[in-house]
Amino acid sequence: MSKLSNAQIAWRAAQDIEDGAYVNLGIGFPEMVAKFQPPGRQAIFHTENGILNFGESPAEGEEDWDLINAGKKAVTARPGAAFFHHADSFAMVRGGHLDVAILGTYEVAENGDLANWSTGPKGVPAVGGAMDLVHGARRVAVITDHVTKDGRPKLVKRCSLPLTGVACVTRVYSSLAVIDIEAGRFVLREKLAGMSIDELQAVTGAELVIPASVGDLVVPEL
């Protein structure tokens, strides 16, 4: 079965970010979304450790290690950037000031529950800002492979892993589909053209609501 690459999932998520939106991208895979802003649009990226309007990483050897993002990668400050302390940073997060947060996930449930911080009791637990980010942004989206590496659905009826937040996700961009979470249900918006609804349902762990019109999920080669 053909599916989108991570870059293509990130590209699709980037198309829904409006010009001038304040956006937080989770560390790792979601950071890729910044690369695919449509021409003519410029989002303002927030990082939890205290920068608004940061830009790409500098060239190797040009890093300033006091200018890093939440993933501790060296970044640059764009014109119009601002620095602030952590209480202000999380006021932006919880206070409803961000337009969009885009996160990775282990599981997402049909009621919007998200599990993306812990795979269980083994090892050293770490949470960072994930539990804060899922509250406050006007849209909380996840980007993810539709299934795990061993083929199990990541879109599920109820999460089995420890929760990051309850009923917080509003949209899922997967490797096969774009799905909204509305009234505790997965509502299919777009799917790959070569795939039937039955095939998509078979790899989804909860029932898909199929509206009258479902778009094709079309992305460029990247």
Binding site: E48, H85, M131, G165
Partner: protein, 240 residues
Amino acid sequence: MDKTVPDLAAAIAGIDDGMTLMIGGFGGAGAPIELIHALIDRYGATGSPGNLTVINNNAGNGRIGIAAMIDAGMVSKMVCSFPRSSDPRAFTEKYLAGEIALELVPQGTLAERIRAGGAGIPAFYTPTSFGTDLAAGKPTKEFDGRMYVEERWLKADAALLKAELADTMGNLTYRKAARNFSPLMAAAAKLTIVQASQVVAPGQIDPEQVITPGIFVTRVIAVPHPQQEEALIRVGAAYL
């Protein structure tokens, strides 16, 4: 009023066994390496201060800074949001061996608990962690139809912070994202100790530019050309 002290040993005087320390920094940005290493030196020479609780976003990286404190055996508990790093060996080994305790706190809750401690607010409600394992045992309450978790303030006996510019009255500015937790910690500790890359006379910092007002600062030590934690990690530096 002059809050400057002559050397690092004088700066860290009074930090004692069993204390709770806030240490500024997010990863390497803002980590007060010279103050931390001075504390390790004193521990090496005198066996004190030990049994410390350390509050920081992370739990050390590599073999310097907080990781070196943990390796030295000075730390009995970490309060942090993300005890992982590019080289988390120091904390990980002790944690898995049951030799160090961990209080894991969501990053924004950690910041707000410290802010509350400095602001005289004993508890507050946040949506963060509601319905998760990290809210276990905490009171919850509904406000305007939404559920929130009660969190308590965090305070410390001492804070170790890194600033860019200080005046002798303790007014501070920071460098870029090295600010992070430090303005919050400055207010939340009884003894706030600041290493500044440059110390200037009162009036040399425009009051409009002051980020941390001097009322929150106890001591200032000039540390020109401070070491940067991430730069040390990248060359494989080890303090012990």
